[in-house]
Each structure stands twice: as C-alpha cells, then as structure tokens.
C-alpha cells in the first residue's frame, strides 16, 4: 500500500479508515469478535439493534438455509437500551476505540426517540442507524420503511433529539425505494443505509411446514447482492446523502462494486456469520483489489458507474 490513506472515506463528517462496517445483528457489540481479531481495523461497526424495552425476539427455529444465503428471524432480540448502556457499551469500549454506529429499532416515533435520547450522551457513538425495516417484528413483514409518511415521522422524531448523524436503514421490500429515501432525507436524515433483508421463506419438506417458526424471515447473503446493488444505485441517485451499501457483500470485489454503484461505505452482514474473519479478510484484500482495477483512492469511485 503506497498510499496509507487510500481506503479512507468520509461518512457524514466522520472519517473512516476504510469503508468496511459489519452490519447490525451480525457483530453483537463487537467484543466477541475482538477475541478473533483486533476490531479497530474496521471502519466502524453497527451494533446489535437496540430497542427501548428488552426483547427476547421470535420463537425458534429462527434460521433457514438457502442457496447462497440464509433466512433469519431473530426479531430484534436485545436487552433493552438501559441494559445496553449499563453492560454492553462498557464491554464494547474496552476493545473498540473508534466511533461506533448505534443501531436503533422501535415500534413508534416516540419509542425511537426515547432510545436515541437515551444513547445520545454516549461519546462512543458516532452515528445512529435507524432501523425502520426489520422484516421480523410485524406480521407479513410490513414495516415503517414501507411508507413515506411513517418514515418521515420516525426520522423527524429522532432528528429532534440528536445532533449526531442519523442514518436511516431502508427495506428493499418496497415498490419504490427511492421515494422512501427521499422521505427520509426530507425529514432530516444525514445518510441512508440499505438494504435490510429481503422477505423470504423456506419450507421443510419432511415436516411440510415452514422452517422458520415465524413462517417468513429476512433473507440475506450473496444471493441478494444484485438486488442490493440495484437499490444502492437507485437511492444514491435519488438523494444527496451518503449511502451505506450492504446486502450479500462477501469480498473486496463486492465492496468496489457497491461503491461504484453509489455507496460511500459498505456493510458486511451474513458473511460475518459464515466466517468470523470475513471483514478482516476483506479489508486486507482491498489494496490489491484496488490495484487490480486501477483504482488509486477508494473514495474516487463512489457512484462512478
């Protein structure tokens, strides 16, 4: 690496050493991955989706295998924001010394605002990622992020209680994702992250019943990459905000492709579950991949396609 800064990108005014961000729900609060490698090599990571109240989440089975991917139906399991502040963030801060992305879920604008307010005083938090698109907490996958008005209300409520950058995480399970992104932008979002999982399903042929106890769940993995790339392309052209692109990213090449489509930073989700070293390996592979495709600084390619 001739140029040590060739991987840096700016995400809502905070510089990342590289664009790689383990996605919420695949990296816990980081400290367990810190047993495997120094997680400070990451750009940042998005911690486990946190809600006002503790949540056990959905019944088991929560996991189904698919060709080139998996379905999860965790359902926002988390110990609640106060427990997160009391026990998870202190453990996280012992091993991660960069600004972290705080992923927040909820069921009403007030609840989102409550959780963001509660976390806002944490210096370790660089950005909020507002998850309005979890397919696992409402019947049939209906989410706030399917509707422009509901999106605007949640984003507006959160915007009112924090000065930190607010990144809104969108669902791909919509007719027009650009329209939702514009609603988030109009309500004061600083960035957009996408895609959350595709709503998917598998059936167990032996039992002749859905594999997932909750019937449907969120489909992720390399299989969804072309859909994610398309959504990133559409959204990055529809709004004037930085985009965190994710969905099936598994290699340095995938990162470059996401950034060419319009992503400023790149989330890595399911890949962490198959291989706990996935993000480390991607970061290590990036310089050679940039060389291969004649790219000097990675920030130069954002939206280049």
């Amino acid at each position: 690496m001739v140029n040590p800064g060739r991987l840096t990108v700016d995400l809502c005014g905070i510089e990342l050493d590289n664009p790689i961000i383990p996605a919420s729900g695949t990296f816990g609060f980081g400290y367990e991955f810190a047993e495997y490698y120094d997680i400070n090599i990451l750009g940042t990571f998005s911690f486990k989706g946190t809600t006002k109240e503790p949540r056990f989440g959905n019944p088991l089975p929560r996991i189904a295998e698919c060709t080139a991917g998996m379905i999860n139906s965790v359902g926002l399991q988390n110990p609640g924001v106060h427990e997160v502040i009391a026990h998870e963030l202190p453990r996280m801060k012992e091993v991660f010394h960069k600004p972290v992305m705080a992923n927040v879920g909820g069921f009403s604008p007030e609840e989102y605002a409550y959780t963001v307010s509660a976390l806002d005083g944490e210096d370790s938090i660089g950005w909020f990622e507002i998850n309005i698109s979890c397919p696992n907490v409402h019947a049939g996958g209906a989410v706030t992020g399917s509707d422009c008005r509901a999106t605007g209300e949640v984003v507006g409520a959160v915007r009112a209680v924090t000065k930190k950058p607010v990144i809104v995480k969108l669902s791909p399970n919509v007719t027009d994702i650009a329209e939702i992104a514009r609603a988030a932008e109009a309500a004061g979002a600083d960035g957009i992250s996408l895609i959350n999982t595709l709503l998917g399903m598998r059936i167990d042929l032996r039992r002749k019943k859905p594999v997932i106890a909750n019937v449907m769940g969120g489909f992720s993995g390399p299989a969804v990459f072309p859909v994610a790339l398309r959504c990133v392309y559409q959204v990055s052209r529809a709004v004037g905000l930085p985009v965190v692109g994710m969905g099936g990213v598994s290699s340095a090449e995938d990162v470059i492709e996401m950034m060419l489509a319009g992503a400023t930073a790149v989330g890595v989700g399911a890949a962490n579950l198959r291989d706990p070293y996935a993000c480390r390996d991607i970061i290590e592979a990036l310089p050679a991949a940039l060389d291969k495709y004649g790219i000097n600084e990675i920030k130069d390619i954002i939206g280049g396609a």
Partner: protein
C-alpha cells in the same frame, strides 16, 4: 473458537445413515467433552455444526447422520479432503459436579459426545454407566466402544430389536450421582422429569453462525437468555425452563 483446517483421515458408515469421520488437525481448542465444530461445505451457505465424539492431539472424531444434502456430501468425502472448520465451539459438559457414579444418557445421535465425556469422567476416577436409546437395532452405534472403556452400557430401542424395548428412561439404573444427557428434546425432557439428581443437557438448534453472533439459537433460561451455540449447548437442569 478457532478457525482451522482439518483433513479427513477416515470416513465410514457405522449405523443406518450414521457415519464416523476422523479428522486430522489441531484440537487444542477442544477443552471439554460436549463441544462442537462447525464445518463449511462447498455450495452450502451455513456451516454444519457437529458434536465432537473424541479429540486428543492431532486427531478428532465426529459422528454425523445424513439428513440432507450437506451431510450427504460429507458422507462422500474421501480421505485427504480439507475442511474449513470453526473448532472448539460451545461450553461442553462440566465434569466437576458429577459425583462418583455419573450416568450418561444418549438418544440417537446424542450418543456421539458421550464417548469423550466418559473418558474424561473415568480419568477423573469416576465409575460411569450409560444408557443409549435408538429407534431400532440398525441405528445402534457407540456401545461397544463405550464398554471397552469399562462403562456399564445399556441399550434401549423403541421397537425392541436391541436391548430393552422402550426409551432411554426405561433402561436407567437405580443409582447414580448425576445425569448427562444429549438427544432429541422429548427424550431429554423425559430424562429431566425422571432424574432425582442434578444433570446437564446438551441441546441442538438451527444455528446461523455457531459462535454467538447471530442470536439465531437463543433460548430462555432461569438465568436469562442464552445462546445454545455459545452459552450452551450444555445447560444445567437448574437453569432449564421446562
């Protein structure tokens, strides 16, 4: 948890749809019986979690059942095949609480981890007995091996074609100081209800990662929410909510 490479050193059928695979590689991360490894298979997105049958030095043995495409692929693996594996997963059994005469209860493939557990208990000077339950005589495995360690091993089969007719709980001795159980949940639940001693129970679940990241295999316990893959697979009788 350590990511490592194991090389297939042997792979043979030992019962109906059940295979024993010998693997070669570093096993130093296997610190207790009842832990498992998680194997990446070509063309399958999720790894396959398989409990450790035995491990020492550079040799590790697993016993697995062909239940779908992934395990079918495994059954065809030749000697020398290199496997991408996460090893040393899960808590494993705690032998320190077993008392002098622990009882091992294995149902079906749940008999697999009992061999390494028995070895450890015997090494600690305990007198071990076991009951293995299977559907039918064709499914029986691991009993001779256990007996060769000196374990008094009873067998129960549902159809009565081997050992006593019935379930594991129908073959249990009167006296024991502690119960270690692994098998289908209905079998473990029956054991849970029958034993008067303390016990440990090893659970199975569909896992996303196998190392505690995805919360795909969470379960509620007396002591809060636990991940089968990382906080388990072994739970104590006292913490199980049944």
């Amino acid at each position: 948890m350590v990511k490592t490479v194991y090389t297939v050193a042997g792979n043979e059928k030992i019962a109906r749809d059940v295979y024993r695979m010998e693997l070669c590689g570093d096993t130093s991360m296997i610190t207790a019986p009842g832990q498992f490894i998680n194997i990446a298979l070509e063309g399958k997105y999720l790894r396959r979690p398989i409990s450790v049958h035995d491990a020492s030095g550079d040799a590790l043995t697993i016993i697995y059942k062909v239940v779908g495409g992934g395990t079918e692929d495994m059954s065809r693996m030749a000697k020398g095949t290199r496997l991408d594996v996460l090893s040393g997963l899960g808590n494993g059994f705690d032998t320190s609480v077993s008392g002098d005469t622990p009882l091992l209860l294995g149902g079906g493939l749940g008999a697999a981890p009992m061999y390494m557990l028995a070895k450890k208990l015997i090494a600690e000077g305990k007198r071990v007995s076991a009951v293995f339950g299977f559907a039918s005589a064709d499914d029986v495995f691991g009993t001779d091996e256990l007996r060769s360690l000196g374990v008094d091993t009873a067998v129960a089969t549902v159809d009565g074609t081997a050992g006593v007719r019935g379930f594991v709980t129908d073959g249990m001795p009167e006296e024991y100081t502690y119960a270690y159980s692994c098998g289908p949940e209905p079998m473990m639940k029956a054991v849970y209800k029958k034993i008067k001693t303390g016990g440990q129970f090893s659970f199975e679940a569909r896992m996303g990662c196998g190392f505690g990241a995805c919360l795909g295999c969470s379960c509620k316990t007396v002591t809060g929410c636990k991940r089968i893959c990382r906080d388990g697979p072994v739970l104590t009788k006292e913490e199980i909510l049944w």
